[in-house]
């Protein structure tokens, strides 16, 4: 793909003359600012944090979890040992390696400000970064990209057909997913760009796609086809590979958003084996593939793995768990100062549970996102409270999690 298209894209987005300060700046300086990579992994459906990082040493753990409880380290199907009486699910071997290499920090009781139990509303709050449902129509990462000063401009890509809410609101965000069909001819795309000159939706969307496709084909990804389209947890890996290659390409974006579906385990979720174990294995393989794809860029990468809310501590009547509140978040990558827990852990004592059923929310997820934006990307605190998280009054970044 040729450069004039990109320039036209910028012109289209900015509505013509005013484009010079914004997106065009991004294209010329993004190489430098874009070296510090950020990958946001959203586990949609409410991931059971107690299955991912199990507090097996908690006195109440085994009684509450019933058949879902994982065995202690060393036993058959036992967890992989951490500190503080916690262990990782036996299928999270890559994460355990990162822990040993001090590249994984675990936040065991995270939640967005949302306190109800609807997936859709929960994801809305997680992605908008607002204090309540429908509090904003754009996403916190989108706003962060828009707020960056010209010299710090960065671009982001979502590995999906649609642009997720978290990236909406920014002209520097695009989306990309592997394709089966023969790619569209450049000539046709050029003609469509003309046809879309006055179209506020189709113009920017096509322009952005053309640019990402150019990066993808330059890194040999346009032939990867079917791999990324497999269903279920095996599909996570293909998507993560794609993210790694896009991020590490010359002139590639600085941020990627991955969405992995299917964490809503109401029935028969299993323990060391079973459907949730398969998903965790898929997640682990995907994160390993992401690291491989990033190559040397891994050392300057932060990956945040989050979910909209947690699940009930106790097993429900059908061998699963219902919608809860606090869940586990992971921060990993070469730029993470890890091998430790961060944030509070309220424990599983009856009085410590939220509404008597859920892990109590101890760490605001927005503080995790602030940590990445401030300490990894260098966004000013003022920008954060004015623009990115205007509703997050007392919420602050967590110190000591990013290697500067």
């Amino acid at each position: 793909m040729t450069l004039p298209l990109m320039t036209r894209r910028a012109a289209l987005i900015a509505g013509g003359a005013a484009f010079l300060a914004g997106s065009a700046g991004a294209l010329t300086v993004s190489k430098q600012a874009g070296d510090r990579k950020f990958v946001l992994v959203i586990l949609r459906g409410a991931m059971d944090g107690l299955a991912a990082a199990a507090p097996y040493g908690d006195a109440h753990y085994r009684a509450l979890r019933g058949k879902l409880a994982l065995a202690a380290p060393g036993e058959v199907g036992g967890v992989l040992p951490l500190t503080e009486g916690f262990g990782l699910h036996p299928n999270l071997t890559f994460l355990h390696e990162r822990w040993a290499g001090s590249e994984l920090a675990i936040l065991p009781a995270c939640a967005s400000p949302y306190r109800e139990r609807s997936h859709f509303d929960g994801q809305d709050v997680l992605e908008t970064g607002a204090a309540e449902v429908f509090g904003a129509s754009d996403g916190w990462l989108g706003r962060a990209l828009t707020a960056l000063p010209p010299g710090e401009a960065r671009e982001a890509v979502a590995i999906s057909s649609a642009l997720p809410l978290v990236l909406r609101g920014s002209a520097s965000a695009t989306s990309w997913a592997p394709s089966f069909a023969p790619s569209a001819s450049d000539d046709t795309l050029n003609r469509l760009m003309d046809l879309y000159a006055g179209d506020a939706i189709l113009g920017p969307a096509l322009a952005s796609a053309i640019e990402t496709n150019a990066i993808a084909s330059a890194s040999g990804m346009d032939t990867m086809g079917g791999k990324g389209r497999r269903a279920g947890p095996v599909a996570y890996k293909g998507l993560a590979e794609a993210a790694g290659r896009l991020l590490s390409a010359e002139g590639g974006p600085a941020a990627a958003v991955l969405s992995f579906d299917g964490w809503d385990t109401h029935a028969n979720q299993g323990a060391a084996n079973g459907q949730l174990a398969l998903r965790l294995a898929g997640l682990d393989a995907a994160l390993r593939a992401l690291k491989d794809g990033l190559g040397p860029h891994w050392s300057q990468t932060v990956v945040a793995v989050v979910t909209e809310f947690g699940r009930t501590v106790a097993e429900n009547g059908t061998g699963g768990t219902d919608h809860g509140t606090g869940s586990t978040a992971f921060l990993l990558g070469g730029a993470v100062s890890g091998g430790k827990f961060a944030g509070e852990w309220p424990g599983l004592a009856p009085k410590a549970l939220f509404q008597g059923r859920d892990v109590a929310p101890a760490t605001d997820l927005r503080s995790v996102f602030m940590t990445v934006l401030q300490d990894h990307w260098g966004l000013e605190r003022g920008l954060m409270t004015r623009t990115v998280f205007p509703d997050a009054g007392g919420v602050r970044a967590i110190e000591g999690l990013v290697r500067v």
Binding site: F120, T188, L195, A205, A209, H266
Partner: protein, 465 residues
Amino acid sequence: MPVTLAAAIAVNRFGLGARPGELDVASKDPKDWLSRQITNKSAFELPVPGLLTTRVAAEALSEYLQDLKVKTEGKAGKLSPEDQEEAILKPLKQLRDITINEIEARTQHALTTQTSFAERLVLFWSNHFTVSANKAVTIPFAGVFEREVIRVGMTGTFADLLVASTRHPGMLLYLDQAQSMGPNSKAGKRRDKGLNENLAREILELQTLGAQGGYTQADVTEFAKALTGWSLAGPRTKRLVPDADPGDFIFVDRFHEPGARTVMGKRYTGTDEGQGEAILRDLANHPSTAQRIAIKLARHFISDDPPAAAVEALAKSFRTSGGRLPALHETLIALEAAWQPEARKFKSPNEFFLSALRLAGLPKIERKGIVAAYGLLGQVPYQAPSPEGWPDDAASWAGPDAVIKRVEWSQALSDRLGSKIRPEDMMRAALGPALSARTVQSIARAESASQGLTLALMSPEFQRR
């Protein structure tokens, strides 16, 4: 008779897109063209022979589960790749064929139907009551659920539709209701099993009141308890309800939580399925439900952010008619805002796919590749990602990658149709006065007829309705 803009709106915005000649028919009286479709039971039917009934689908599921058990029991981790193929993947593929048959049948019907407004209403309501085939146990039921619950219910009330949906095996399995037991029920006390609140929660949040509709966690739990015992007949329930056929709705007394329940401040006595049904009917007729349905309908037919007056008119129609769907649909047709000249709705992938094939006047869809085509565009029928169903706004469907996939698919379709097509004539027949001069010019300047059609299908006015 000249083709009017109103006819183009009726056929393209309310319907699934014009087939050749259809605008001429609708131009006589566009509103009447729509009205005649909504009270006619047969307009909602899927006249394709050979699809499974609920009972046969239930038998197929039993066979599959039985077969899987025989071939895999006690062999965890010991199956060779070939054995796995034979024991797990092949039977699952056979099960998936049921869904592909349904997709083929529905698509084939959508291509040629002359009552495409009725068909769009089926798709709308089927999405409201989502049963996704993304779980093995729901694969056989997603299609038959739409045919035996949604299509059949289109001339009745919302309450009847909600009750029928909640009783169907597809919904009972999709939202984990079938195995839910009251903690104090006979079976619950004896076994290490109990309550599952998934169906109760999604009915409150997605199908009736809405997340802001005024219910609490306590309402969810109480409603879930009232629904315990709602299940379907299968091999394992023979002992409990001997005279039920596979797939029949059954009320299993041994699973039911005893006692009265309080939901949304109202107390429900009753000891059988009547308790849950009474709650369902009250939820169906709650003002929050009227409001939620009104917003969804207005958003689907008018714009992502519909005018409040239109929403209120629909909500009022819902309330005053007792949730009678034909009355609600008639109100929709009468809304002035639904006839605004500017097309504001960005087509979903499914809408784009069907309208393009209808524009091309294709009489028949090929089975081969149909799922891949839907998949490329991002919306495989009966595979909605969650109980919320497919999204209904431009922000969800007009992502950069989604747009380029539409270009790729349009190009493939155009190439297949060959060089003898006349894209401008096709577009004029489909859009009438809604075709823009700019698009006409772009088609005229294309280097080939095939490129012209690609540009036409991707034009701003064809991407919207």
